[in-house]
């Protein structure tokens, strides 16, 4: 497997650190004028999601991690695993709950999402930045209230709970930002 030197570290690069696949977030060259050069690197462990800071001697290198992001369609949940498919090749992957983790509450059958593969096995599932989901349960709101203030909880078809404005009704489809879990707008069918 190839390796990368600190000079090549840049945001998005996937490397192995402490036997785990990681993604580099930030790389800063630190060098006192008369002193030793270091690279201070902010790095995300792709297995745990934890972000750490680690310093390397400039010129040191890390092994590359065979990590790729693949766009896949979510097929179904068989109770033990969730199944995904690469649309072009029809290649299928099954993911355990650990890989799906937080994404599960945004996943609707047939929706596209990103599956991160490490050595060709699913490591992480990331939903699209925006998803459109139907509200299955929310208190009847006050008609005519179009203000942004207040709001109420709404349960979506995937089980996620988001705060929506009072005027949004049960049965309606809404657009949600999965990164923040925030309501964006109603979707006209």
């Amino acid at each position: 497997m190839a390796s990368y030197s600190t000079n090549e570290f840049k945001a998005g690069l996937k490397v192995m650190l402490d036997a785990d696949p990681c993604a580099i977030i930030e790389n800063e060259f630190v060098k006192p004028g008369k002193g030793q050069a270091f690279n201070r690197v902010k790095i995300r462990n792709l297995k745990t999601g934890r972000v750490i800071e680690r310093t390397f001697k400039s010129g040191d290198s890390l092994e590359a991690a065979d990590v790729v992001d693949v766009a896949m369609q979510y097929l179904y949940n068989d109770g033990d695993f969730r199944h995904f498919m690469v649309p072009d090749s029809f290649e299928q992957y099954q993911c355990n709950e650990k890989a799906v983790s937080d994404a599960s509450k945004w996943l609707k059958d047939q929706d596209m999402c990103t599956v991160t593969l490490w050595n060709d096995s699913p490591l992480l599932v990331t939903p699209g930045n925006f998803v459109e989901l139907a509200i299955v349960e929310t208190d009847p709101g006050v008609r005519g209230d179009t203000s942004g203030g207040g709001g109420k909880p709404a349960v979506l078809e995937t089980g996620a709970v988001v705060r929506v404005p009072l005027f949004v009704q049960q049965g309606e489809i809404i657009k949600v930002d999965t990164r923040t879990g925030e309501y964006i707008s109603r979707v006209k069918e």
Partner: protein
């Protein structure tokens, strides 16, 4: 790329740079320090163990020689001092191979000056005057800070920077959540000082002010003189503003024999660390033998000075063309 022809910095910044350069020149003119020029390209390079240089090929058939781009104008300027120039300054480009990042461009602008008969304290007074003059009307600065390396280091880490106690240093690394320092620095006192200083001390130095750190540990003396009263420290000063290292100064070493010995040690250190070989600057040794006057010298990175002045967080914001666009 389509926009690569355009400068990195704004046109306003070109104007500011021009004004700052003019003010530096009038500052030294008023103090009777003369501006000099020395070669950027030379037959020998600095020995600094942590600096990598650029080389160029000189071809004048059948002669073919390797020349070095200066990492600083120090040696040539000291030869002028030894020849009786009196106090001098220079604004020039310096080149350091492999240095690239938010605060580094491999080619950068440097102001370097030497004051005959100045000790470190007098030099520090002048640095404060210069910074005050350049920032006046542009950036409100708080009172200048002066603190010794030892006091500062102890205040933040509770470690003595002058005495290397491996166990205490390791304990600090664990406590400060940088356990990798133990592996990176091993038993190299210098590496530990660099690591701790750059990670845990420097970032908070000189918030909206000029912070001068003096009395560096003797193992970090480079070309500075060892302090007369305390052989564990060296008469070296570094200046910082908003956590950025801006410059480095010395009460200059004038002892030819000691200089020669330090060169040899640095050359050995370079060999042991597989760094590119260098040619010892025997002309500097000869100049010191002929007699370098008692003097202090300072170098300031002008690009970083402009970064502080304009709150730019990347050196590309203050230079017309970074390496990528050069």
């Amino acid at each position: 790329m389509l926009h690569d022809w355009q400068p990195n910095c704004s046109i306003e910044l070109l104007h500011l740079r021009a004004q700052v350069l003019a003010e530096i020149r009038s500052f030294f003119l008023a103090r009777s320090v003369i501006e000099v020029e020395t070669p950027i390209l030379s037959y020998s390079s600095g020995t600094d163990p942590q600096l990598d240089f650029f080389t160029a090929d000189y071809c004048s058939y059948p002669l073919q020689q390797t020349l070095y781009l200066q990492t600083s104008p120090e040696f040539a300027m000291k030869r002028l001092l030894a020849a009786g120039s009196g106090s001098i300054y220079q604004i020039c480009k310096a080149f350091r191979n492999g240095e690239s990042g938010r605060y580094h461009n491999p080619e950068f602008s440097m102001l370097e000056w030497y004051r005959v008969d100045y000790n470190l304290t007098q030099l520090m007074d002048e640095i404060a005057d210069l910074i005050a003059a350049l920032f006046k009307g542009r950036y409100q600065l708080k009172a200048t800070q002066r603190i010794s390396y030892q006091d500062l280091f102890y205040k933040i880490t509770r470690l003595d920077p002058l005495v290397f106690n491996y166990k205490n240093y390791c304990a600090y690394a664990l406590k400060s959540e940088s356990p990798e320092a133990i592996e990176l620095c091993k038993t190299d006192h210098n590496a530990w000082l660099d690591f701790i200083f750059s990670h845990h001390i420097q970032p908070s130095l000189g918030e909206n002010t000029l912070c001068m750190i003096y009395g560096y540990p003797a193992c970090q003396s480079s070309l500075a003189r060892i302090n007369e009263d305390n052989s564990k420290v060296t008469d070296r000063v570094e200046i910082f503003m908003n956590g950025i290292e801006l410059g480095n100064g010395y009460y200059e070493l004038i002892d030819a024999q000691e200089q020669n010995q330090r060169f040899d040690e640095e050359i050995l250190h370079r060999q042991q660390n597989n760094r590119p070989k260098i040619v010892k600057n025997t002309q500097l040794i000869a100049a010191l033998k002929a007699g370098l006057p008692e003097c202090s010298g300072m170098a300031i990175g002008l690009d970083r000075l402009l970064m502080v002045m304009t709150n730019n967080n990347h050196i590309e914001g203050v230079i017309p063309f970074s390496l990528a666009r050069s």
